[in-house]
């Protein structure tokens, strides 16, 4: 363990061992890259006088369709007979001061037809609409400033959604944005530092902040690193410095610093997540944790099931309309000898059931039990003999006779 160390990636000191200079150059490159981005991203004035205006879910009116306010969100559950939902609000916006309208809407299927609708005092009888793009089940901001109909004072804004809806859509509110340089940069920084909590897809992919980002931070940093390297190469050539060593040292420092910045963001996110995890699970034993988990209701019922089943492992068939519940119920039931269809919502063929087997039905439609005759049937097949051993909310445990 006695190899020399020059404090660098390489085993000895490099030609330009200053850390400050590459970092200053990186900061300058970042500033230039951000400015270039703003040149493309800011649709109107860089420094507008107006400030953003936001309306929450309670300010919105559900003109068409069905839904209700839940936890400060307007949860849209259905469309009207014409297959439309319309969410509107009264506004008083000078069109020239506001370049974009951003609806904060979640769980929008990518195939949904969504349009932003408005009218203004410039042409009161005319209703104008433009399509709204969807990404990651969210609506992207609509740049309205370049639309010829965005004139005068906008006194009505609305969101038109054409159904049918495959799932409820959550509408948190809408913001009219001047989209100046400062606001645009603030939006990007907010996206980068947005809390990304654990979800079912976290094991597959890390977004790195908000679900939808106009300028991913890794891309900006990569561009800045490349710009820094080019700048250093040019400077070294101009000042007749050792070009390669200077370039290598600069790349090493700015790459590590950029990685560190991304990692700081990631670690900060992890720390926030750990707080959430601690609030949910810390200080609880194994069972209490599961009761506090997302499927706590299911776990509580399975505890009753386990108490009903014999101590020695028995064959248990688990059925549910939702594959999540099939899998989770089965997991909680092991070491009983569980069978569940992980991907198909099907009942077991009666021929596969034997006397003494158990059938757990959890939130599964189409299963009928006749308690007077102890007969169980599903999918219009011939009933089989079974005893009802336990019931719960939308759930039942049977033993096959």
């Amino acid at each position: 363990m006695s190899a020399p160390d020059g404090g660098s990636v390489a085993s000895g000191p490099l030609a330009t061992p200053s850390i400050a200079r590459p970092l200053v150059l990186l900061a300058a490159a970042l500033a230039v890259a951000a400015t270039v981005y703003l040149a493309f991203a800011v649709p109107a004035s860089w420094f507008p006088g107006a400030t953003a205006k936001t309306w929450g879910a309670r300010d919105l009116s559900l003109v068409r369709g069905t839904g209700a306010i839940v936890n400060n969100e307007l949860v849209l559950t259905g469309v009207d007979n014409n297959g439309q939902a319309l969410i509107a609000l009264s506004s008083d916006l000078p069109a020239r001061d506001y370049a974009a309208i951003a609806w904060d809407v979640r769980d929008v299927p990518a195939t949904t037809d969504v349009r932003l609708v408005w009218r203004s005092d410039y042409a009161p009888q005319k209703v104008i609409s433009v399509p709204v793009s969807i990404e990651s089940e969210q609506l992207l901001p609509v740049i309205v400033v370049e639309d010829p109909g965005w004139l005068g004072r906008v006194n009505g804004l609305a969101l038109l959604i054409r159904g049918p809806l495959s799932q409820p859509i959550r509408i948190r509110g809408v913001t009219a944005k001047p989209m100046g340089a400062v606001e645009t940069l603030s939006d990007r920084i907010r996206e980068w530092w947005s809390f990304e909590r654990w979800t079912g897809t976290s094991i597959n992919s890390v977004t790195g902040g908000a679900d939808v980002q106009d300028l991913p931070l890794p891309l900006l940093l990569a561009v800045a690193i490349a710009a820094t390297a080019l700048l250093v190469w040019a400077l070294a050539r101009w000042r007749r410095l050792p070009r390669r060593s200077t370039l290598a040292w600069t790349i090493a420092v700015v790459f590590a610093a950029s990685w560190g910045l991304l990692d700081a963001r990631w670690l900060w996110n992890l720390a926030r997540q750990t707080q959430v995890t601690a609030a949910q699970y810390a200080g609880k034993d194994w069972r209490e944790k599961h009761r506090a988990a997302d499927d706590g209701g299911l776990f509580a019922f399975i505890e009753q099931v386990r108490a009903t089943l014999p101590a020695a492992p028995v064959r248990v068939f688990v059925v549910s309309d939702a594959h999540y519940f099939r899998g989770r119920a089965a997991f909680h039931l092991y070491p009983h000898n569980v069978f569940f269809e992980s991907s198909r919502n099907v009942m077991p063929p009666p021929a596969n059931l034997r006397a003494g087997d158990w059938l757990l039905v959890y939130q599964r439609r189409g299963v009928q039990f006749d308690p007077s005759a102890n007969r169980l049937r599903w999918d219009n097949m011939t009933p089989i003999s079974a005893q009802l051993k336990l019931t719960g909310p939308g759930a039942a445990l049977f033993q096959i006779q």
């Binding site: 390489a10 290598a248 492992p313 997991f331």
Partner: protein
């Protein structure tokens, strides 16, 4: 036993692995080499984990129930024997290695700002692993496959005290209760066995705490990466930066925090196996070869794609063993592979559940999102490409060529799977693409550093030559 038993049991498993690594035959004491202690400790965790699962399989075959005495007492005896064998050779260097390690951890080899940065980086690593430990210890099994196909086996084997077979639906229905069923009954049992081992040490079923081995292996991976980089002649700071880069890969962190999948264990075992193999190529120590073989043997027993990852080592071995003709052989191999792809255009076979069909339609957009825009890998793929561009002259240098071949073959494997097979759907929906990439990502990180360092050394040599007086050069 409780938490104390869990910690004790896992430390014992780790110690047995360390004793195994130390006992392996070698001419030069391991602890006398740069980073030898970190390598021994890091790689030892993997050896210990795999040996413990082999022992559990043997117990089950012999009809002995899992328990503290059955699992840990024989392993303790084995560890003591191995330690006695190895420490006779290593003991003279142990005190010096520990003293050097303590000095290095304190940053005494550095001064001023460099020392501050060193200590900050260590604190950064400690903070990360503290947060990850909290996540593992508190959160019950969360991600999907962990409770449909991995934790299922762990629960059954722990509660029954032995391995029982998991079989496909038809076989299960016919078995009358002698076998079990889950979403992937054919998946190998090493990861569930580690969870069983943790549960036995804990003395009860706890689907959060049983995942502490995932955290332990992540810590061990960082130690081993540090040791491997030191063995590649990186200084302590460069090696620590390398360990930090590997430890900070966000998707790897996720697979610790949301433990229960086999992807990170496979990635870590494969990484350490390749490092052991590279050490063997460098120093021809038999012990390194044995360790590499042991850890490579673990790969297919961790996850089915481990078999394919073994095949990706073939080009590296060809280049290493046949320095004169190896490159031609590898080029010929790639040509054969291209021919095979053309043949597949006319057929429709299924291998490892992947339907192979030559239908070149990679999801470039989704792939770019995964590698360059999303937060999965920080700047890894930008850095790897830049390193390859800057250091292209060094990629096939004698020392780097085998490592480069591993990365190239791994990259080709991933590309073929995601570009030519039905697995491309998993790129588009951002599911398996990142988990499969994780198997190679730690190696790519270290390779990136190795290539960059080779390029830096080449730059220095060129500049030294350019700045020497003409007379000196002529002489």
């Amino acid at each position: 036993m409780g938490s104390f038993g869990l910690i004790l049991g896992l430390l014992l498993m780790w110690a047995i692995g360390v004793a195994f690594v130390v006992a392996l035959p070698r001419r030069t004491p391991l602890l006398s080499t740069a980073g030898g202690l970190a390598w021994t400790v890091g790689s030892g965790a993997f050896a210990g984990a795999f040996l413990a699962t082999i022992w559990m399989r043997a117990l089950s075959l012999a009809g002995v129930s899992f328990g503290i005495a059955a699992i840990f007492v024989p392993l303790l005896l084995l560890g003591a024997a191995l330690a006695w064998l190895g420490f006779r050779r290593e003991f003279p260097d142990l005190r010096g290695a520990l003293r050097d390690a303590a000095n290095i951890v304190r940053g005494q080899h550095l001064q001023g700002m460099a020392r501050v940065l060193w200590l900050a980086l260590l604190a950064w690593l400690v903070l990360r692993f503290a947060l990850l430990f909290a996540e593992v210890a508190w959160k019950p099994l969360y991600p999907w496959d962990s409770w449909t196909q991995w934790g299922t086996k762990a629960r059954v084997w722990y509660e029954l005290g032995r391995l029982v077979p998991f079989e496909a639906a038809d076989a299960w229905l016919a078995s009358n209760g002698t076998s079990y069923f889950d979403a992937a009954p054919h998946y190998p049992g090493t990861v569930p066995l580690l969870q069983v081992l943790a549960s036995v040490a804990l003395g009860r079923w706890d689907d959060a705490l049983m995942n502490i081995p995932f955290w332990m292996l992540a810590v061990a991976l960082s130690c081993a990466v540090y040791g491997a980089l030191r063995a590649m002649d990186f200084g302590p700071s460069g090696a620590l930066v390398g360990a930090w880069l590997v430890a900070s890969l966000p998707l790897a962190n996720v697979h610790v925090a949301l433990a229960g999948y086999a992807d990170l264990p496979l990635a870590a075992f494969f990484t350490i196996a390749v490092f052991a193999g590279l050490r063997w190529l460098d120093h021809h120590e038999t012990g390194d070869a044995v360790l590499a073989l042991l850890l490579l043997a673990a790969c297919p027993l961790i996850k089915v794609p481990g078999r394919v990852w073994l095949l990706t080592l073939v080009p590296a071995l060809l280049v290493a063993f046949f320095p004169r003709h190896g490159r031609k052989l590898v080029a010929a191999g790639f040509a054969v592979a291209l021919f095979a792809l053309l043949v597949l255009a006319r057929t429709n076979p299924v291998i490892l559940n992947y339907r192979l069909h030559l239908e070149f339609a990679p999801e470039w957009g989704a792939l770019a999102d995964s590698y360059f825009l999303l937060g999965n890998w920080h700047l890894l793929w930008y850095g790897a490409i830049a390193a390859a561009v800057f250091g292209w002259r060094q990629l096939m240098s004698p020392r780097l060529a085998p490592f480069t071949m591993v990365i190239a073959a791994g990259g080709v494997f991933l590309f073929v799977v995601f570009a030519f097979t039905n697995a491309r759907a998993w790129v588009a929906d951002q599911t398996t693409v990142n988990r499969a990439t994780l198997h190679l990502a730690p190696l790519v990180t270290v390779w990136m550093l190795a290539v960059f360092r080779a390029w830096v050394q080449d730059c220095r040599a060129l500049e030294t030559e350019e700045h020497q007086p003409l007379a000196v050069r002529a002489a």
